[in-house]
Amino acid sequence: MRTHGASGSRSTLIALASTVVFALVVVLVVSNSPGWPEVQRQFFNGEFFRESLRVIPKAFLLNVRIFLIAEVFILVFALFIAILRSLPGPVFFPLRALAIVYTDFFRGVPTILVIYLLGFGAPALQISGIPRDELFWGVVALVLVYSAYVSEVYRAGIESVHPSQEAAARSLGLSQAKTLRYVIVPQAVRRVVPPLLNDFIGLQKDTALVALLGPVEAFRQSQIEVASNFNYTPYLVTAILFVLLTIPLARLTDWLVIRDRRRQLALGAAR
């Protein structure tokens, strides 16, 4: 796997050429299709594109905010669930069972349903002290659903740490809790960063579902634009924004995976 020197620049050229050819073919096929003029008018209108760029990115900031806030709570809450699930012994059976029911439930129910149930159900209870804000409940729904996925990721990480690490820590006199905190969890988290980021890419997209409750984020804003102009170009703009947000995370994930693999190879060679 050498990618420098003359052979490196040649393979870059080949990659570039084949990409250009491929793109040309796609463009030709699409633009020669019978419905293309109509689709172009409906989805690729330059004027509406510029107009969308004025309003949708602003609304998109709400998606970013939902994402960032939900992410922090998911990281903490999911770890809590994962630890509950990995508690040993019969004493902790009820807590383990609770964690299992939780993950089964929230991974099983469609996200959109959780959002509807919480977003419309919880405020309707009219319990004093409970927020009635749809945005709040939308974020709660995302946290609940994604924590179920992320806790499974954490759990896989915890289980991948060899039992001899626990034995070593306990033999020093560290309690079960301190062993988890200082020895098991730090190693587990390091190993699961790539799959964790993967789940967060999913979360970025699903922030659009909060729109179903009313808050005007990018998707909802584009719906409004589409409805007032009878043109679909705003959807295109929103799609582009989501992709742009995803790319850095996706590349970071790739990079981490590659770095890990290199490290393993280097270690293997050192042995």
Partner: protein
């Protein structure tokens, strides 16, 4: 002996799916070094893990410095911090530097202030010729260095008993000596040790007593001169014969 017996094991039985330890009795007086020898699978590791309360036992009792540590309600963490164990596979914490590996127990269990813990760890590392490795991560060290760090990690807790489980078995031959030298130094300094080992000449040098473990039972026990030169039990004779044939005695 006037000082208190360090370890007294009585009728210890341990089963996983099958019975692995079938009534082990053994005592260690202060500064005594006892070597456990026996074929792979005879129960040496299990015995050491039981003493450190890493495995629950089915019958019998273990007393450590006069206290029955297998009694219900005993604070296992308190017992473990006073008994050091070193494993065949080192089991260092890979995400921590050498120094952190050693200070973890000091700071989180003994509540030693970080600065003092760092100092104690640095002193110990210097004593064992590892002063320049304090900031390295375990995967950058040779096996011999890793195992010496593991010994230092256990020693840092000032244990009153050390358990060593075939600590040189995972090492390349040229790295064995440096680790055995460290253990000889410990014996000289008066550390009480229970050592499972395949290094017979080492056991002959260092042990006050050798126990031959076979199939979960101590079949023969005595001073190394007796066990290695004139074993009385037929199985001990066979075991030693195989060791000699393998060129390890």
């Amino acid at each position: 002996m006037s000082a208190e017996t360090v370890l007294a094991i009585e009728g210890l039985q341990k089963s996983f799916d099958v019975e692995v330890l079938k009534g082990i009795s053994l005592t260690l007086e202060p500064s005594e070094v006892v070597c456990l020898i026996g074929a792979s699978g005879s129960g040496k590791s299990t015995l050491l893990r039981c003493v450190n309360l890493l495995e629950p036992i089915q019958a019998g009792r273990i007393e450590f410095l006069g206290e029955e540590i297998t009694a219900p309600g005993v604070d296992v963490d308190h017992v473990r911090r006073r008994i050091g164990i070193v494993f065949q596979a080192f089991n260092l914490f890979p995400h921590m530097s050498v120094l952190k590996n050693i200070t973890l127990g000091l700071t989180k269990v003994l509540k030693t202030p970080q600065a003092q813990a760092d100092q104690e760890a640095a002193d110990l590392l210097a004593r064992f010729g590892l002063a320049d490795k304090r900031s390295e991560y375990p995967d950058r060290l040779s096996g011999g260095q890793q195992q010496r760090v593991a010994i230092v990690r256990a020693l840092a807790m000032r244990p009153e008993l050390m358990l060593l489980d075939e600590v040189t078995s995972a090492l390349d031959p040229e790295l064995v000596a440096e680790v055995l030298d460290v253990i000889r130094g410990l014996a000289t300094s008066g550390m009480t040790m229970l050592i499972a080992t395949h290094e017979m000449s080492f056991a002959r040098d260092i042990a006050n007593r050798v126990c031959f473990l076979h199939d979960g039972v101590i079949l023969e026990e005595g001073p190394p001169a007796e066990i290695f030169s004139a074993p009385t039990n037929e199985r001990t004779q066979q075991f030693l014969q195989r060791i000699i044939e393998a060129g390890r005695l």
